[in-house]
């Protein structure tokens, strides 16, 4: 009886997932159609519904960013380009459009570019998307444990020796890629873009605090804390960093 119930549960779950996937694809296609007809607000609505239905591919984020860009919302466009770039860093269209959107922001705040030497040395970090890094980490983890299992069961000395080396190697790979994934994930979840036309940055988590400076739509900031509906941010500039608080509705984090 228990077995029958579990099977029914699995079938229902799979069917629901498939239905959800179908709906997501439908909204995605509708979004594309609206975009082509230059109805960018409708395209944004469709893409957002597609995301709610479970689709979160780089293409969806890219298209959503394009729709925001075309509708004049640079902040959301940059946030979604960044999100698309997080999952597909090798996509040339995303990089080009992101550069273009960034060049149109009013505040001249640019993220610190990583030196090319460092990019070459840690090329896998920059070359692989966050999901690819996680996949490599999980695959290495599984392979390492399986090698360890073979090592403990096997009675052949040669095989045992090879398996233990194999396991150590893949444990190291898994650790490196896990660290890389976690760093990217942490970085993205602490990266924000100003989506309000103008956001007043206060000295404390309330409007009663003094307004220190103003950030314009599309400025990229680092999120360093949260209190209630207020978010603490930090802006890096050449002459030094500026920190302050703003309402969470005025900012969008990448993840």
């Amino acid at each position: 009886m228990k077995k029958i119930l579990s099977m029914l549960f699995i079938i229902a779950f799979a069917a629901a997932a498939k239905a959800s996937s179908f709906e997501a694809a439908k909204y995605f296609a509708q979004g594309n159609s609206a975009y082509t007809n230059q109805n960018y607000q409708e395209a944004i609505t469709c893409y957002t519904r597609s995301a709610k239905e479970g689709l979160s591919s780089p293409a969806l984020n890219y298209n959503l960013a394009n729709a925001y860009y075309k509708s004049g919302d640079l902040g959301n466009a940059i946030a979604y380009y960044r999100k698309a770039e997080l999952f597909a860093p090798r996509d040339a269209d995303t990089s080009a459009n992101l550069s273009r959107a960034l060049s149109q922001t009013e505040d001249n705040i640019a993220r610190k570019e990583v030196p090319s030497a460092l990019r070459s040395f840690f090329f896998l970090y920059f070359y692989l998307g966050i999901m690819e890094q996680l996949t490599v980490a999980i695959a290495s983890w599984i392979v390492a444990w399986l090698a360890l299992s073979v090592f403990i069961i096997s009675r052949k000395p040669g095989l045992r020796s090879a398996m233990i080396k194999f396991a150590i190697f893949f444990f190291v790979i898994a650790a490196l890629f896990s660290a890389s994934f976690l760093h990217k994930y942490y970085d993205a979840s602490h990266q924000g873009v100003i989506v309000a036309e103008e956001a007043g940055i206060h000295s404390g988590p309330d409007a009663s605090y003094t307004e220190i400076f103003i950030l314009k739509n599309g400025s990229e900031v680092k999120v360093t804390g949260k209190e209630g509906s207020w978010v603490k941010i930090m802006v890096s500039q050449e002459e030094g960093s500026q920190a302050g608080w703003l309402e969470s509705s005025q900012i969008k984090t990448i993840l």
Partner: protein
């Protein structure tokens, strides 16, 4: 009837035999004994009454070149039953030098025999100069001459000269003409357009003409000569009627052949130019070699921009002259207050009224970098005016410009334009700017795995669980293979089995010995198996715990008493013995590890 046929065959055979017996005759003739350099002659080798003839080998022909041939023709005739045949090899020869020249001995092989042909002397004179007064006369009596003409012969270095090479002909059946060849040094020449072919009145007479046009630019000063121009033409010359029989059956092939083609090389008079250097006096600094007459116009759009926004300078240079050398003096890339991009240059030329006219359009993007910029600097162009015999400098601008402060700092990205390096090639012309379009495929759901934490936990936990199971399996396998472990692990169950057997026998006097034996075995075997000792070696001393040892001794004594004395006395009560043994076993199990 049969006899008549036989006679005909006999006669025919005889005729052929007579023909075969005829003597082979070989001769060489020339169409003319004296020619000029611009004419050609026909050299013919005739072989008569030969069956097999190989192509001849011409002898020494120093001073002549073959311009056509050999062309072959054959002729067979039967007159009054006598067959005769002849074969001709014809060459069109042209002299390459003047004087008394000789066409050397030619050799020809006919019917296996080699025949030598005699030398022929030819007088070669200078080419006849072509002029209207004495145009070259062809063999047919028509006129054919080449004229070389220039727009001016008194000129400056760099000034363009329009050159025409015209082939005039009258009463000549011209079948072909090659491109003219022009000998020159110290000039730069280029062809202009296609040739023209028409009729025109030239010095009182109507001529057909073919005209080629060239543009030449003298590169150095002095007396420079150009030409003579030469042109190779093909003329159809009628075959002289005197040389032809009126009877078409005499030469059936030549009946339809009214013309033969003669190749002629027509020469013109050379032209001498008096080329002067451009004066060094008043030469502007930005003069780059343009000579002619030019005009300059320029404008800047828009005239009001925000800083960082581009303006376009459009300048147009038009005129008559060497437009290739006409280079507008534009600002360099390091002009203060601007980012300047390489100009895009568009050039068009056309020929009209014997002059080469040109237009050069410049389009250059300037990006003002600050509001301090008030104007775009002037552009200038210097040239040498051939009409005024002096230098001229044309200027346009400066162009007033209003630059407003920008609300945003415009950054020029690589995708918009490529900044120009000094002396670099022209940049890509950006027409419009836009982002790249949307993606039509939704792609894989990249985040699903991250969001579905259950899957992540399964992936993280499952492999270590598998490993633990394997480890457990390995451990169990190793223990199973250890006999002492096996004895120890099965010790209690063996003791239980002995107790079970004893329980079945309790209260049966006839089985008292077996009953006691099972109880004794349960205790002894359990201790032996647990401590991995040989069975039968167990005594009270094996047990270290003093209390248990005493209990062990007491119980074993009672079992022994029951075994030999039977069920006598309270100490030999079967139930009591059974429960005491069971209790002691549990105590031993707890104590012995």
């Amino acid at each position: 009837m049969k006899n008549t046929m036989k006679i005909k065959v006999f006669f025919l055979t005889m005729m052929l035999a007579l023909g075969a017996l005829a003597e082979v005759k070989v001769s060489a003739t020339c169409s003319r004994k004296a020619i000029s350099m611009d004419e050609s002659l026909r050299y013919t080798i005739t072989v008569e009454d030969a069956k097999n003839v190989s192509p001849p080998q011409l002898g020494e022909k120093d001073g002549f070149r073959v311009i056509m041939g050999p062309s072959q023709s054959s002729n067979i005739s039967i007159v009054n039953g006598v067959q005769s045949s002849s074969k001709e090899f014809s060459y069109e020869l042209q002299a390459t030098k003047t004087g008394k020249l000789t066409i050397g001995e030619a050799k020809i092989k006919a019917d296996g025999k080699t025949y030598n042909l005699p030398k022929i002397n030819i007088d070669v004179a200078e080419a006849r100069k072509s002029s209207a007064d004495s145009p070259a006369t062809t063999e047919t009596g028509g006129e054919l001459f080449l004229e070389l003409d220039a727009s001016t012969t008194n000129t400056f270095v760099g000034e363009q000269i329009f050159l025409t090479i015209t082939l005039y002909y009258k009463d000549v059946n011209l079948s072909g003409a090659n491109q003219p060849e022009l000998q020159f040094t110290g000039f730069n020449a280029q062809d202009i357009g296609n040739y023209q072919q028409d009729r025109q009145r030239y010095r009182g007479q109507i001529y057909n003409y073919i005209r080629f046009q060239k543009l030449i630019i003298p590169l150095k000063a002095g007396k420079l000569s150009i030409g003579p121009a030469s042109m190779r033409v093909s003329v159809n010359v009628p075959v002289s009627r005197r040389s032809r029989s009126r009877d078409p059956f005499d030469d059936p092939f030549s009946f339809f052949q009214n013309y033969r083609t003669v190749e002629k090389n027509v020469l013109s008079e050379p032209l001498v130019f008096n080329v002067k250097n451009l004066p060094s006096q008043n030469k502007p600094k930005d003069f780059k070699g343009a000579v002619g007459r030019f005009a300059l116009s320029a404008e800047v759009t828009p005239q009001k921009v925000k800083e960082g926004e581009p303006v376009t300078l459009k300048a147009t240079l038009t005129g008559i002259g060497n437009i290739d050398q006409a280079v507008l003096n534009l600002a360099s890339t390091n002009t203060a207050g601007f980012t300047v991009y390489d100009p895009v240059v568009d050039k068009k030329t056309s020929v009209a009224d014997g002059q080469l006219k040109g237009i050069k359009n410049y389009s250059q993007m300037w990006v003002p970098l600050s509001t301090d910029v008030k104007e775009l600097p002037a552009v200038s162009f210097s040239y040498f005016d051939t009409a005024k015999n002096d230098y001229e400098t044309l200027t346009a601008g400066p162009f007033p410009l209003t630059v407003e402060r920008s609300a945003q700092s415009q950054k020029v990205t690589v995708s918009e334009a490529i900044p120009v390096q000094r002396g670099g090639s022209p940049t890509i012309k950006i027409l419009n700017q836009d982002i790249f379009g949307i993606k039509l495929e939704s792609g894989e759901d990249a985040l699903s795995s991250i969001r579905d934490k259950r899957l992540l936990i399964i992936f993280a936990i499952l492999p270590p669980v598998i490993f633990l199971l394997c480890a457990l399996l390995a451990y169990k396998r190793s223990k199973e293979e250890d006999p002492s472990f096996k004895r120890k692990s099965q010790a209690y169950s063996v003791a239980e089995q002995n107790l079970k057997k004893a329980r079945k026998l309790k209260g049966k006097p006839e089985a008292i010995k077996d009953f006691c034996g099972y109880l004794s075995a349960a205790l002894n075997d359990y201790v032996a198996d647990t401590l991995n000792l040989p069975k039968g070696s167990i005594s009270a001393d094996t047990i270290e715990d003093a209390e248990l040892k005493k209990e062990w001794q007491d119980l074993m004594t009672r079992i022994e008493m029951a075994r030999f004395a039977g069920n006598y006395g309270p100490k030999c009560d079967n139930d009591q013995l059974l429960s005491d043994t069971s209790r002691l076993l549990k105590e031993l199990r707890r104590t012995l590890k």
